[in-house]
């Protein structure tokens, strides 16, 4: 009878601890527990906490030399329950901790201290139960990252709008680059036609904000994925690095800064050097008069002179 009573009180105690955890999302310390349950002795409290921890209802953290008990995600708890053994649970937890950035199998092995074959088996099991999924990263296509099944991979893993199935969509980027350039050129032409004999107004009007370009590109509907203004700015930056555009930053009366872009023509047409075969010759360092490679017998020069 006494045993039943103690069991009952222990279950009660566990429930009380769980309720307390819910009311303290930042976690419970031993002192809080002691204050909230002054009638419960240390032994009872310890055994109740141990039961909750082994059942996977609580998480134990250490902060400033004191222990903190936090309530576990109920979803995680239910899924933990599906796990066959503690090793599976551990792997599942490690993968869960990695969040939507995922974790490499090698890192899981190091964290769980498991053998590779054993880990592979566990991972296969978890995958078959649809608790976790393997995702390929754009940074390393051969590297499998594991994350919880219900999570969407982070942009650093998928590569964002510019990647499809780990492949960089260079053609898509190129098309966007050309379209953005066309937008900026049109803007320059419009400003030149509208503001005759007003050089400064014409110059200022020839700048287009990234939002303007984003709107035009969105209206063109050339992209299947939804592009953000930041995505368009990334593309506009490639135009700057192509020498086709320039950028200035201005701020509105509220003090918010915005980027303005303008199409520019190259100011240097070509330097004379690359017009000659020697300017682009890959073997110029080995080229000497009367040598095996010699300017007198150079085939590139012959072609150049004949063209």
């Amino acid at each position: 009878m006494n045993n039943i009573d103690s069991d009952f009180s222990l279950v009660d105690l566990e429930k009380k601890i769980l309720t307390l955890c819910q009311s303290h999302p930042k976690g419970l310390t031993d002192s809080i527990l002691q204050d909230e349950m002054p009638n419960v002795n240390v032994e009872q409290r310890v055994s109740a906490l141990n039961r909750l921890l082994s059942a996977g209802n609580l998480d134990l953290f250490k902060s400033d030399s004191q222990l903190i008990y936090k309530l576990k995600d109920p979803d995680l708890v239910s899924k933990n329950a599906i796990c066959e053994n503690t090793q599976e649970k551990l792997v599942y937890q490690v993968i869960g901790d990695a969040g939507n950035k995922g974790i490499w199998s090698r890192d899981i092995r190091l964290k769980c201290n498991l053998q590779m074959t054993q880990l592979n088996k566990i991972l296969r099991n978890l995958e078959s139960k649809k608790l976790i999924k393997a995702v390929k990263s754009v940074t390393a296509s051969k590297k499998k990252l594991y994350m919880l099944f219900n999570l969407d991979p982070d942009i650093s893993v998928t590569g964002g709008a510019w990647y499809s199935d780990q492949d960089f969509e260079s053609e898509f980027v190129e098309v966007l680059n050309q379209q953005c350039y066309r937008c900026l050129v049109q803007k320059v032409e419009e400003s030149l036609n509208l503001c005759v004999n007003q050089p400064r107004i014409s110059l200022n009007n020839s700048f287009a904000s990234s939002e303007e370009v984003w709107k035009i590109i969105t209206n063109l509907k050339i992209s299947k994925v939804t592009l953000t203004v930041t995505d368009i700015e990334t593309i506009l930056n490639t135009l700057i690095y192509d020498g086709k555009a320039e950028m200035k930053i201005e701020s509105d009366p509220d003090g918010q800064e915005f980027k303005l872009y303008r199409a520019v023509k190259p100011i240097i047409d070509a330097s004379g050097l690359e017009k000659t075969p020697c300017g682009i010759c890959p073997v110029i360092d080995q080229c000497y008069e009367n040598g095996a490679i010699s300017p007198a017998t150079c085939i590139y020069m012959k072609e150049w002179l004949e063209s």
Binding site: P199, L203, I268, A270, I284, P295
Partner: protein
């Protein structure tokens, strides 16, 4: 470049000229082998094979006395002396008194390399002062230095030749005007002495033997720019000769480049305003860092007639130039605009040599100074594999460099930052050195083409002579043979139509 000073109503514009001593001489960083090769080949191109040998000796030794040059070049004494005379006349060498070897002749490498710019000096003079000025500059460059009267006579006779062809009456006063214009704008300077003096210098140096107190037996004065008074005191009867002021010419070429760049970026009006501002700063003193400020009114009145702008529009243009942070035209230091032009030229060069993707990555490094590989790949929006290949190709070609910054003491590669960066000076040196080699290679190829053409012509002439003799011998041994016409026809057919055309040109050349 353009710096607004004072209140809005009294806007002044400052211009700073290019001072040669402020520009870093990249030649010190280029491999000497490429420079020497270029210098030697330029000497060959301008003055022929004999001078090339002399220049080659001087380039190898750094400086050499007359007897060493004769010994090394295996040329006759007269040939060496004449070569030195030519080089002195063109201001391509100088000489110093050595303690042991008498006079040492040294190449003026910087000056010889400026010979590459002769066409640009000629173009600049034509652009600024007209066709006759172009003729005058051409003639001066051809002679190195020339006495004024001799120069004017030659130009007038050249003009008379042109007039004969075009049937337009000559105007001799135009030559004097053009000459005065060039002199007023500091394009032509007096060097004193004249050509005869140059010859006498070589004679004196040749005769001179070092005395015990290591002083020359006879004082020899070097031709120096702007040393007219001293020269006229020494040799009062010596006629004053003229030389092109290459520093002024170089400044003018640089100014033209700025104007061209402004024209391309904005429009012809902005370019004309920039040109006017540069022209208003006509005689910058090298000792002054800041030139005289120019009033808005002055710029407006100095603008060409075809550029008809109101004061407000002019102000707008000046504000645009002042606010331009891309080209640095708002910076009072003109060297900053040149550094921008240099960067753009390098970007253009990389793009044209390797392709647009290379240009993009090179520009990223130019803009961002120092970046990691991953960051560069992300910014370039190129497939990672391609971007890496581009980066390493640029590094191998010495356009960019990689710096390793270890994060741990054991310098493990996985814990090391690999930063790609650009040193404009290094990249310019690489490009400059390649340019010199390209120039030398072009001259070598040109000579080879000329020689092989000459040999081909000689073979053609031989062939034609042989055919003529054969024809004669056939005709002499006719004896009523019927097939004689056929034999002659066969002989004539052995010369192809192209060959006969070449022969015709050759004969015309010989007749002349």
């Amino acid at each position: 470049m353009v710096n607004a000073v004072g209140l809005y109503g009294k806007k002044l514009v400052e211009i700073r000229p290019i001072f040669p001593n402020r520009v870093l001489n990249l030649l010190h960083y280029c491999p000497m082998s490429d420079i020497n090769l270029c210098v030697i080949k330029l000497a060959r191109l301008l003055f022929g094979e004999v001078v090339e040998h002399v220049v080659s000796c001087l380039a190898q030794k750094g400086g050499a006395p007359l007897r060493d040059i004769i010994q090394r070049s295996k040329l006759s004494k007269d040939e060496v002396k004449n070569s030195l005379c030519i080089l002195l006349q063109h201001d391509l060498i100088d000489y110093t008194l050595s303690n042991t070897n008498g006079y040492l002749y040294r190449l003026k490498i910087d000056r010889i390399l400026l010979c590459n710019r002769y066409p640009r000096y000629i173009y600049a003079s034509k652009f600024l002062f007209g066709d006759i000025a172009e003729l005058i500059v051409e003639e001066i460059l051809l002679n190195g230095q020339i006495i004024k009267n001799e120069l004017l006579d030659q130009i007038k006779s050249r003009l008379a030749d042109i007039v004969e062809k075009d049937n337009t009456p000559p105007d001799p006063t135009e030559v004097d005007t053009a000459f005065d214009e060039l002199a007023r704008n500091n394009f032509i300077i007096e060097v004193g002495g004249g050509r005869m003096l140059v010859k006498s210098e070589v004679e004196q140096v040749d005769k001179m033997t070092p005395t015990t107190n290591n002083k020359p037996s006879e004082e020899v004065s070097t031709p120096k720019k702007g040393n007219k008074r001293q020269r006229s005191e020494d040799i009062p009867s010596a006629p004053v000769s003229k030389r092109l002021h290459l520093e002024e010419g170089t400044n003018e070429i640089n100014y033209m480049m700025i104007v061209e760049v402004i024209g391309k970026k904005y429009d012809s009006i902005a370019a004309a305003i920039m040109r006017s501002m540069l022209e208003l700063d006509a005689n910058p003193q090298e000792s002054d860092i800041i030139t005289n400020a120019v009033r808005l009114k002055e710029i407006k009145s100095h603008l060409p007639k075809e550029v008809n702008v109101t004061k407000s529009i002019l102000e707008e243009y000046l504000t645009i130039l002042y606010e331009d942070k891309q080209l640095n035209t708002g910076d009072p230091d003109i060297l900053h605009i040149f550094s921008e032009i240099v960067k753009r030229t390098l970007e253009c060069l990389v793009q044209q040599r390797f392709g647009s993707n290379f240009g993009r990555i090179f520009r990223i490094i130019v803009h961002k100074k120092s970046l990691e590989q991953k960051k560069i790949c992300d910014m370039a929006m190129l497939p990672s594999k391609d971007a890496k290949a581009i980066l390493y190709t640029l590094m191998v070609e010495k356009f960019i460099r990689m710096q390793e910054i270890p994060r741990s003491l054991d310098c493990v590669a996985s814990k090391t930052f690999h930063l790609f960066s650009l040193d404009i000076l290094d990249t310019c040196t690489v490009v400059l050195s390649r340019s010199y080699k390209a120039i030398a290679n072009s001259i070598i190829r040109r000579d080879w083409e000329v020689n092989s053409n000459r040999q081909r012509e000689m073979r053609l002439l031989d062939k034609s002579e042989r055919l003529k003799t054969m024809k004669k011998s056939v005709l002499a041994n006719t004896d009523g043979n019927v097939s004689i016409d056929e034999t002659i026809r066969e002989l004539e057919e052995s010369i192809t139509p192209i060959e006969s055309q070449q022969l015709k040109i050759l004969r015309e050349k010989f007749d002349r």
